[in-house]
Amino acid sequence: MKSFSQSLESTGIEPAARNVNGSSARFDRRLLAVGLWVFAGYYLGAKIGFALTFEPHPISVLWPPNSILVAALLLTPPRIWWFVLLVAFPAHCAAQLQSHVPPLMILCWFISNSSEALIGAALTRYLVGRSIQFTTLRNAGIFCLCVVFAGPFFSSFLDAAFVRWNAWGESSYWHLIRIRFFSNALAAVIVAPLILTWATNGIPVLRTAGRARLLEASILLFGLLSICFVVLYKFGPEADSAFLFLTLPFLLWAAVRFGALGTTTALSIVGFVAIWSGSHGHGPFSGGTAEENTLSIQIFLIVLSIPMLFLAAVIKERASGETELRESESRFRIVADAAPVLIWMSGVDKLCTFFNKPWLEFTGRKLEQEMGNGWAESVHPDDLQRCLESYSEAFDARIPFVMQYRLRRYDGQHRWVSDHGVPRYDPHGKFVGYIGSCVDVTDLISKDEALREFEERVILAAEATHHGVWELNAATNELWMSDKAGLMFQLDPEARLDKAMIQRRIYPEDRARWQATVEHAIETQGEYAIEYRILLPDGTLRWISGRGRCVPGKLGKGTRLIAVSVDITSQKEAQDLFHLAAEGSHLGVWHWDEVTKSLTWDRATRKTFGVSAEEEITVDTFYRALHPDDAERVKQSWRRALELRLPYQIEFRTKRPDGTTGWVDARGRSYYDEAGKPLWMTGVVFDITDRKKAELEALQHREELSHVSRVAAMGQLAASIAHELNQPLSGITSNASAGQRFIDRGKVDLRELHELLGDIVADGRRAGDVIRGLQVMVKKGVPARQRVNLNDLVMNVVRLVKPDAMLRSCELGTFLDPDLLPVEGDPVQLQQVLLNLIVNAFDAMSDIPVNQRKVVIVTERNGQRAVCTSVRDYGFGIPPEVSRRMFNQFFTTKAKGLGMGLSIVRSIVESHGGTITAENANGGGARFHFTLPADAAS
């Protein structure tokens, strides 16, 4: 079964809401308990009151029931006060009836009693709010004011009125008031507190009291009882009233050590003993009339009790205040030590009084070291001045402050801390000092700095590279632009910008694409890259390359799109030009990545190699496209170029898908890493099929022309050739017929015959050689380069033209350098050159006297590199107007000339890498002089 106090508490102290949640059964049980207690209490109280009456005084010294009632009201919630009163009524009636009080009087008295209780309880409730405990001075004061004074005072009027009305007593109205007032007041000051204190926490205190405490309480009780007995019982009325004060020490003891509970108990004891003694003719209050005695006791007890109650309350208040303070301090300490921040406190004198454990751990110092101004030792000297100043200023102004300074950590490193201090006040609002917390913000600061630096860098970089940065809030379409971006788009970055403003700048044709790209990026929270045109207000069109990325929103912010824009107008123009040029010039671009072994071809390259736009390109695609005859050469060439850092430039044939052959000029450049390993090669290919075809045709034409010229030359020399053949032929016929005649005449000398036949054979060979020589000269062949000695060629040609020379009566002379270096060339063509020059020389001297006709051929070695050959005649020389044009095609001074000779000569010499010049020689005539490079290998 619950204690009374507990049950009362559960119904009286808890808020109404709680009770509603409780079961109604429990509630009814409590109510029943309350009713019983009240009934019992009231009845008993009445009985005690009656007992404590000084006869014949009709009024009891102390009328408990009212107090009991008020106590009950104070302990129960107002909404069941009706119940309390209802329960009290029968008790009241029962008690009064026994004293033969008329019913009406009973009722009236009940009303006045109830009103006393109600007034007191209601007022108290109103002013205190909840259950009254004599723990604060305020509470005690209110209690006394309301319950002890107001209730009894006001109800006394009613009481007296009722009495008068019912004619229950003879006393005057004011007398009655006074009597009733004091009686009720005394009860209020003695009984009510007693009930209240015991009801609220009496049993728990007893239960939890230690043995020492109980002992002390017992001693007190014993002492009190003893002194009461002595002073209030034993001593008679003649005793010095000062002896009454002997109870004071014990009351004080009770008040100081046992609070309100002890006080009220002690007071009750004193009261009870005093009244009982007095009512039985003992003690100091037994002299005099009953009324005098009553009044004396009442005054004595009231005057004694009220201060005691106050004292108890004050002591309690102070104690509890101290306890609270201590508790709160201890709570504070726990919190402070557990906090992740460094906490300090200072007093009114600015000196620090407290540092929490984290602080001490941080600085690695002891509390004693830090107290007062010791903490300043840990502050970085550069920051100390500023720190102290900020602190003082704020302190004097009693305002919160935030400051940052470096604090030396236990490991000696100075860390940046952010110190936030606020003034603190006691419950009375008096300034008692400061309390502050510090957080290690080193990382934040360095992060902050790093961020600032980073920001700066980014902005600088963006500015430097002419990148404009802008950020779009996807939800609100608000736009932020960097200065550069503003310049680029010709928008004011300071103004309020939104997406529409950028869109307006975009070239209408590109708008839809831009919009779609950006939106897609936002939807997929991804990135985008786009090139688009913008049309600026001043009418110019610029190309912009933009890249953007979406950053998902945090902390309730929407998705942000951050973008970088670059003005690529000049690049685009260059690109366009390049593309135009490339397309026009059949220029293709290729890229070989050595690391990934991948090959990339642009469209033009694909076209050049006859590969479709979609087909995947590998290095084999390239190899397959090569003409089989050139494939190996090309493969080796580019690999070597890549690996040996050589320039790559090569012409080769390709095999087109339609079977035709194409020609390609490929060039490339390689790139290497630090270690010299090839990374990639990038280059271009030219489709030079047309050019090559033209070249080949031209070459063919030249060849044909050369051939024709040779044939013509041969034609010119036909007579010479015929003559050359005639010689051996006549030899043959002569020898053969001689042989026949020898045989006919019978004069056969076998030896002679043998010799004869030998001569025939030799002559036949000679004739064959001539024919062959002729054939070689007139055949239409691909020029065959070989190592030739120019001297041999000169001799061949000289042999060939000797008949002609004789025909024209020209002398032929040769001066051949024996040290001549070999030349790489086509012997047929070179002979053609010599032939042409020599025949020209003959022609030049046709009008010169016979004995002056001479042609001199000279060969000469020219250092290490070249071979010089000259053909000199002794004609009239070259007239100036001829010398300019004589190597031209179709230029001739001969009536029957084709005009091709010298131009072909020059073309042959030059195709051998040589040069040919003509000049007038000293001593008359012209000298044609050509130089050929010596064979490289020699």
Partner: protein, 213 residues
């Protein structure tokens, strides 16, 4: 029929041709001498018998036509047969007119060549005889005094003494005397022989090698 004491000379700058010619001539029974250069031939003593010279038209140094000219200039009796490797026909006419026996382009037929040689030798022989006769006659004529010569010149024209006397401004008697002396010196009996002799000497009209008046 090869005249006695015939000699055939061959001049050609080409070795094959020389060798061939030499053999051919030998095989035909001729005595021959082969030269590379015309100048070498000219240095050689003139042959005292019928001689034929086979000469190449085009040669370095003195060529065929030069040789012909030289021989004519020196009144040599060698007969020339021209051979040539070149096909120029224009020269042919020129050398034939100058007295060449024949002009053969190479490669020549051996029988053609030998025939030419024979002809040349015969002609050379004849030429020599004629030459000798002429020289004889000349010698005889040289015995005449100038006056006798003059008379003789007119006698062969068939003039009467009287006319001769009138022409020369001499007496007829003188004319007769001279005439007789001429006949005696020249050992002639008839005027016809005289005429023949004079023809043989090759004295036409009033000229005589340009040495006499």
């Amino acid at each position: 029929m090869i005249p006695a004491n015939s000699m055939v000379f061959a001049i050609d700058d080409d070795v094959s041709v020389r060798k061939g010619l030499a053999r051919l001539l030998r095989s035909a029974g001729y005595k021959s001498e082969i030269f590379e250069l015309a100048s070498d031939f000219l240095k050689r003593e003139q042959h005292t018998g019928p001689a034929c010279v086979i000469v190449d038209l085009r040669m370095p140094g003195i060529n065929g036509t030069d040789l012909q000219e030289t021989l004519i200039q020196h009144g040599r009796e060698e007969q020339l047969v021209f051979i040539t490797g070149h096909g120029d026909i224009s020269i042919c006419a020129q050398v034939m007119k100058a007295g060449a026996v024949d002009f053969l382009p190479k490669p020549f037929r051996d029988d053609e060549l030998l025939q030419c040689v024979e002809r040349a030798l015969v002609r050379s022989d004849e030429q020599r005889r004629r030459s000798a006769e002429k020289n004889n006659a000349r010698r005889l004529v040289d015995l005449l005094t100038p006056r006798e010569f003059e008379v003789m010149q007119l006698v062969v024209t068939g003039m009467l003494n009287k006319q001769i006397a009138a022409e020369l401004g001499m007496a007829e008697k003188t004319v007769k005397v001279h005439r007789a002396r001429v006949m005696e010196k020249l050992r002639l009996t008839s005027v016809a022989n005289l005429v023949r002799l004079v023809e043989t000497a090759g004295i036409a009209s009033s000229e005589r090698d340009g040495t006499k008046v």
